[in-house]
């Protein structure tokens, strides 16, 4: 993993720092996003406030996603079931308000863990959340009642570390062992200053 720091003259100085992470390290890092949605229980959830200073994993998906979402979440869950593993806050945001009810999102997440936080919102609130998180805003097309309904969504899981920065993302395909390797490090790494 190559980290970069800015020299006085503005050029980037490569600092080889082998952090030993399986995830994709971001440089510059991002800030912990500030957005408010509602939980599956109907309570407002201020993401930046509720997760401040805590290792948090954020994922934008939808419950009728049969391919990427369940495998990505289940792989993570498989890692979190290991005894002694670092326990992050896991937040799932449904980006399919036309079809996902709060109850449906709750049922979906309970397949993996009752501790996973499910968030819902209006299309405008969801766009603001995705913009704040710096991910491509999900697009839906077609009639939600019909077969030609398609959903495009950001498929990476974003990790926010206790320094309230987003240093690492996990594209679809991350393995259980990647999580087992990375989670303890994410909780404890003292991140060098990056170019931001």
């Amino acid at each position: 993993v190559a980290l970069f720091s800015a020299r006085d003259d503005g050029t980037l100085d490569s600092v080889e720092a082998d952090l030993g992470l399986a995830g994709t390290v971001l440089n510059p890092s991002t800030s912990r996003p500030d957005f408010t949605l509602r939980t599956t229980e109907g309570e407002p959830y201020d993401f930046a406030d509720e997760t401040k200073g805590k290792l948090t994993l954020l994922f934008f998906g939808y419950t009728s996603c049969p391919d990427v979402c369940p495998i990505h979440l289940a792989t993570l869950t498989g890692a979190l079931e290991r005894p002694g593993i670092t326990d992050p806050i896991v937040v799932f945001v449904s980006i399919d308000p036309a079809r996902d009810t709060p109850e449906g999102v709750r049922r979906y997440l309970d397949r993996w863990s009752a501790d996973y936080i499910g968030l819902v919102g209006t299309p405008e609130e969801l766009k603001a959340a995705q913009d704040a998180a710096g991910v491509a805003v999900a697009v839906t097309s077609g009639n939600p009642e019909s077969d030609d309904y398609t959903v495009g969504h950001a498929s990476q899981i974003l990790a926010f570390t206790p320094d309230d920065r987003g240093h690492v993302v996990y594209p679809f395909g991350a393995r259980r062992q990647d999580w087992v390797n990375d989670l303890p490090k994410l909780a404890t790494i003292d991140w060098p200053d990056d170019a931001s």
Binding site: S64, C65, P66, D67, V68, P70, I71, L73, A74, T75, T77, G78, V135, A136, A138, V139, D147, D148, T150, V151, G152, H153, A154, S155, Q156, V169, P171, F172, G173, R175, R176
Partner: protein, 160 residues
């Protein structure tokens, strides 16, 4: 686990097309597709099914499928496309082209999608899939319904 997978991989359905075995002189050569493995993850109404296949011909393609135990379920073909920005979109397609030799319809890529299931896909439930090809005859294979946490570990080739 590994032994299970091996023994399942032996439960193959390898069919040579009539043209391949006879002198019907098809310029495209013999048609035949071996389905090496098929697995799915549990689902209530929409399930993705993944296959590893070996095709004798680069001109072949998967053009349809059905579930033997659930003829009312609709099986469509999908490709999940991912953009550089990490955007993932599942797109319905008419056919999934097969290169000659082995290929994998893997999670996050091409897959079959079974919808309107009359019974949920549950782990260890018996599911049998008939796959229809453009050229090769239909192949019927068992589908393993597995824990989605194990799905990526099924891929013996390079990471997706």
């Amino acid at each position: 686990m590994r032994a299970d997978r091996r023994s399942l991989a032996v439960a193959l359905a390898f069919v040579l097309g009539a043209c391949g075995a006879s002198a019907c002189g098809n310029e495209a050569g013999p048609a035949g597709v071996l389905v090496v493995d098929a697995f799915a993850t549990p689902a209530e109404s929409s399930a993705a099914i993944y296959l590893t296949v070996s095709s004798l011909s680069a001109q072949d393609a998967i053009v349809g499928a059905s579930i033997v135990e659930d003829p009312g379920a609709r099986v469509t073909l999908h490709v999940t496309r991912r953009s550089d920005g990490g955007m993932s979109t599942m797109v319905p397609v008419d056919r999934i082209d097969l290169p000659e030799g082995r290929s994998t319809l893997r999670p996050g890529d091409a897959h079959l999608m079974a919808e309107d299931l009359s019974e949920p896909f549950e782990i260890k439930r018996r599911v049998t899939l008939t796959v229809t090809f453009d050229r090769a005859p239909d192949v019927t294979v068992p589908v393993r319904v597995i824990d989605p946490a194990d799905a990526l570990d099924q891929l013996v080739e390079e990471r997706p």
